[in-house]
């Protein structure tokens, strides 16, 4: 539209002098030329730049927040190389009464068959977390760190341990083997050894 104003005055330099004297009114066409007007000078330009700034900053901070959250999530492993919590320990008939089986000690399990019940003890000492040893001659679990002693049932009777050893959940799976579930544990002092889930009756 500014071209229209220019088209009326083909000659550049004499144009203002020639156009001005005959008629004054045509002047208002001049302001249409927006050479000096920046985007922020008009109302539309003002709202345009505000919107652009808002979108820009919001997307910037949103991407920053998303990246921070994503990075935090990145640091949590999705796949673990750790052994699973459920451990198959074999046929119940393979366990002798009055015996402590130490085969699964590296999985933090003692399998004990005692007075017609099979239960799985947690090998962690309840004092400071060391691993006690089963002393067959003395019929007790003895912790080498501070001397805590436990009966074959897991009940503490000497040393600094404040409470009995914990028991893992145990159940018979469909294939007839016992399965120890280390995601659930049962504590004597809380009355949880009453639960059917922490022993298997032979």
């Amino acid at each position: 539209m500014s071209d229209a104003a220019n088209a009326a005055t083909p000659a550049p330099t004499p144009a203002p002098a020639a156009a001005a004297p005959p008629t004054g009114p045509p002047k208002p066409a001049m302001p249409a030329k927006p050479q000096a007007a920046k985007a922020g000078d008009t109302r539309r330009g003002f709202f345009g730049s505000i919107t652009a700034a808002a979108i820009g900053w919001w997307s910037f901070w949103a991407s920053m927040a998303a990246m921070t959250l994503g990075t935090t999530r990145f640091l949590f492993y999705n796949v673990l190389a750790e052994p699973p919590n459920k451990v198959k320990i074999g046929d119940p008939r393979s366990y002798e009464d009055g015996k402590v089986t130490e085969v699964f000690k590296d999985r933090q399990i003692w399998v004990v068959r005692n007075q017609g019940k099979i239960y799985a003890l947690n090998t962690m000492c309840t004092h400071l977390g060391c691993t006690p040893n089963w002393l067959e001659a003395d019929k007790k679990f003895k912790c080498p760190c501070h001397g805590s002693g436990f009966y074959i049932t897991g009940i503490n009777f000497e040393g600094p341990a404040p409470r009995p050893l914990e028991r893992w959940a145990i159940e018979l799976s469909e294939d007839g083997q016992l399965v120890v579930d280390k995601s659930r544990k049962f504590q004597y002092e809380m009355g949880q050894w009453e639960s059917k889930d922490c022993y298997f009756e032979v």
Binding site: T71, L75, N78
Partner: protein, 257 residues
């Protein structure tokens, strides 16, 4: 007293920030001078000097990419193990198993972009004559930084431990055979011998030192990993600090002196 005032008058705030907000000329200067990071930067720069059409911001972009590579690289180090048994699988896991697997892609593309931007930075410095005295020392620092950036790319290239990586490093490191005097196939190497027994042979030359063996192996992987993650980045960080500091000392960002 508003919460903002309460924070700004607290001992914690004042122990960190010694000066008021940089709203006037004096405080803008002291804030720059009393901050360990900002003091590397000139207190003031010429308006013409920071025009995008003049600097292309390629130096700043290269620095930004270095920071991106550092941050993403540290994150990748939590998952990557530089051993023959694990390296390749860890790279696959970084793509397929880990949440936000794009981090390795950011690291890889960032590395490509950094090589491009540092070349363009050097090109710009050449075009604007910014290597001339008193900036010739900083040009030298910049050339070392360029070489170290290329070495970062080279050492990082081996880490995925796929066929591409192994053969690229095999071919690339063969150049070290031809190092003058220090490569066993290089000029002058034959001169270094004691009574006819060569000092420089395939088990004692520059390539052997670089690879930790006569061919690319698990020792090479470990060696390149340490170079890539620790040795070269440390050298680069120190040289970047010198580079920025010398920009300030040599009369600010380039322009007519």
């Amino acid at each position: 007293m508003s919460v903002g005032d309460w924070i700004k008058t607290s001992q914690v705030w004042k122990s960190i920030f010694r000066h008021p907000a940089p709203r006037d000329r004096r405080n803008r200067v002291v804030v720059m001078l009393t901050n360990v990071f900002l003091h590397l930067h000139p207190v003031s720069v010429r308006k013409s000097g920071i025009a995008l059409s003049y600097t292309w911001c390629m130096g700043g972009l290269t620095f930004f990419l270095f920071l991106v590579e550092t941050v993403t690289g540290v994150l990748l180090m939590f998952y990557y193990r530089p051993t023959l048994e694990h390296a390749y699988n860890d790279i696959l896991a970084l793509r397929d198993v880990v949440t936000l697997g794009i981090l390795r892609e950011i690291h890889r593309w960032g590395a490509h972009a950094m090589v491009i931007s540092i070349w363009l930075h050097m090109y710009r410095v050449f075009l604007t004559g910014s290597y001339k005295p008193p900036r010739e020392f900083n040009w030298g620092v910049g050339v070392i930084l360029l070489v170290l950036t290329l070495l970062l790319s080279f050492t990082g290239y081996l880490l995925p431990w796929d066929q591409l990586a192994i053969w690229a490093i095999t071919v690339g490191s063969n150049m070290a055979r031809a190092t003058p005097f220090l490569g066993h196939e290089g000029p002058g190497a034959a001169l270094l011998n004691v009574g006819g027994v060569p000092l420089i042979h395939s088990g004692s030359d520059a390539r052997f030192l670089l690879l930790g063996g006569k061919f690319v192996s698990g020792e090479t992987l470990l060696r390149f990993y340490v170079l890539h993650c620790v040795a070269i980045p440390l050298a680069v960080a120190v040289l970047i600090a010198i580079h920025f500091w010398r920009v300030r000392k040599d009369g600010g960002i380039s322009g007519a002196l």
